[in-house]
């Protein structure tokens, strides 16, 4: 497999670049909040803000899940940024949920409870949030050391999270528009890759072994 030679960032800049990713990643949400306060989000600012937060959560989720295929297939190693991408997704999901509870539903608990129990797409969204919480809580070095191989297994939850996220998104729409179709395609590619990845890896290992014994 061809490996793209990317100019490597000197190691000493790595922490700074990760913090920059957090800062840039939070920008769309903060900017939308600013616009929303000053009436720049159109006729239904709550809906626009809520949807924007959800969409960015989904985008960061996809970017986080794209790290492995980028490394496997193109030799682009962004593993150092994966935790930030995952946590950004989590922050956006959390903000999306808080906006739903407060600005959208006005903290009317009966309406929220009814909504969660009766609406499949709300339930799927809730399931995604619940699955993200343990991942966010264990996204630190201490947890990785402490959990060992169980950490990897736990963090495979990102795949069901992506699945419920796309269903949550698609089921909230009246029709599948081109934008939603694009995200469905991205989801299919990411989940599809996950399914074929063991085969690809195995074949590659076999090739390497054959090369080594020659």
């Amino acid at each position: 497999m061809a490996t793209l030679a990317l100019p490597a960032l000197p190691a000493r800049y790595k922490p700074a670049s990760i913090w920059a990713l957090y800062a840039i990643g939070l920008m769309p949400g903060l900017y939308a909040f600013y616009l929303g306060i000053f009436g720049g989000l159109g006729a239904d600012p709550v809906r626009a803000f809520e949807h924007l937060l959800g969409l960015w959560a989904f985008r960061f989720l996809c970017l986080g899940l794209a790290v492995a295929p980028l490394r496997d297939l193109f030799g682009i190693n962004l593993i150092a940024y994966r935790r930030a991408l995952g946590l950004l997704a989590f922050y956006y999901v959390l903000a999306h949920f808080i906006v739903y509870l407060t600005l959208d539903r006005g903290l009317i608990l009966s309406s929220i409870a009814g909504d969660i129990l009766k609406r499949p797409y709300i339930m799927l969204g809730m399931a995604g949030l619940l699955m993200l919480i343990p991942l966010a809580l264990t996204s630190n070095q201490w947890s990785i050391r402490r959990l060992g191989p169980r950490w990897n297994r736990l963090h495979k939850l990102t795949y069901p999270i992506l699945l419920v996220a796309i269903l949550h998104y698609a089921l909230s729409l009246k029709v599948i528009d081109p934008e939603a179709a694009f995200y469905i395609l991205v989801t299919v590619i990411l989940l599809g890759y996950r399914l074929v990845r063991p085969k690809i890896m195995e074949r590659r290992r076999a090739k390497r072994m054959a090369g080594a014994t020659r």
Partner: protein
């Protein structure tokens, strides 16, 4: 083009615009003095009715009504119609009215506007998605047009069709819906005085994104029944097909009456968010949705004996 107001219809014609926009204060004052009858009294959520069929609730700002639209012929996003509808040519424009009637007729839009008495009707509009507006339409009763073609005794329903012109309606190039957009009413619904064909908004010609040059407004039904840019009206014996019902019959019924007790399968219809009420992100609390969108006194009798959970 200006919308012609018949001189004997509303006080708005002779009222200074700024005074007119403050009319709620006067009506409120009049109600306080006991000058208005029961019709002027507040009901469930402080609804009061002025003369005719207009609500006295505060109209949604024009910029919201003209920039937040569902008109999939111009794209599926709310801002798409205001951005893309400029390409639609609304003249010349003909509406064909035919089917089960004695005198099928093709009307040129300007003749139709001249021949009918236009009225302002400030109606609530409730979208199936859970938001609402208060819209000052200008139009004329649909029943007046139907009377002109003399429906036969076989006519039981009215079918409507939107223009099909992908060159000017870019959304029609993507199969989000089955084009052209189609809608229908039962004949008695269509003859109800609340049902109008609107040709104006805020006292001016209807903007393209709101369904120019002529659209249906049935305020007790979800917004998607209000078919836009109509070119064809057909009186039929059988219940006609309607676009959203064709797409997903379990979610969008033929009747589509606003009903807080019957949820959309994927979301609740109990509450709504009034567009334009919030200043930015805060202050836009949800309000309760009313049966028949608050027009139950006028229209509920049309559905006597019908199971509205079945005929949603």
């Amino acid at each position: 083009m200006l919308i012609r107001h018949a001189p004997d219809l509303t006080d708005n014609d002779v009222t200074d615009r700024s005074l007119y926009l403050r009319r709620r204060e006067f009506i409120g004052g009049a109600a306080g003095l006991g000058l208005l009858g029961a019709a002027g009294q507040a009901s469930a959520r402080g609804l009061t009715y002025g003369p005719g069929f207009s609500t006295t609730e505060k109209p949604t700002p024009k910029k919201d009504i003209t920039s937040y639209n569902n008109f999939y012929e111009f794209g599926v996003n709310k801002e798409d119609p205001s951005e893309n509808a400029g390409s639609l040519k609304t003249r010349p424009w003909t509406i064909r009215v035919d089917g089960e009637c004695e005198t099928p007729t093709s009307f040129a839009i300007d003749d139709l506007i001249k021949a009918n008495k236009l009225e302002e009707r400030i109606y609530r509009m409730r979208c199936v998605e859970g938001w609402s507006m208060v819209i000052p339409w200008v139009g004329f009763p649909l029943k007046d047009l139907l009377a002109q073609v003399k429906p036969t005794s076989k006519a039981k329903f009215v079918a409507f069709e939107t223009l099909m012109r992908p060159s000017e309606m870019p959304g029609q190039r993507w199969d989000t819906l089955q084009w052209p957009y189609r809608e229908g009413l039962r004949l008695d619904e269509a003859r109800h005085p609340l049902a109008i064909l609107a040709t104006g908004l805020y006292g001016e010609t209807l903007p393209n994104q709101n369904g120019a040059p002529i659209r249906l407004v049935v305020p007790w039904k979800y917004g998607f029944k209000g078919i836009k840019s109509i070119v064809k009206i057909t009186l039929t014996e059988e219940e006609p097909a309607s676009t959203w019902n064709l797409l997903q019959p379990s979610e969008y019924g033929f009747y589509a009456n606003v009903n807080p007790a019957v949820d959309h399968p994927r979301w609740s219809q109990a509450t709504e968010r009034r567009i334009g009420e919030a200043d930015g992100l805060f202050g836009g609390a949800r309000i309760d949705t009313l049966p028949f969108n608050g027009y139950a006194d006028e229209v509920a009798s049309l559905y006597d004996g019908m199971d509205l959970t079945k005929f949603y």
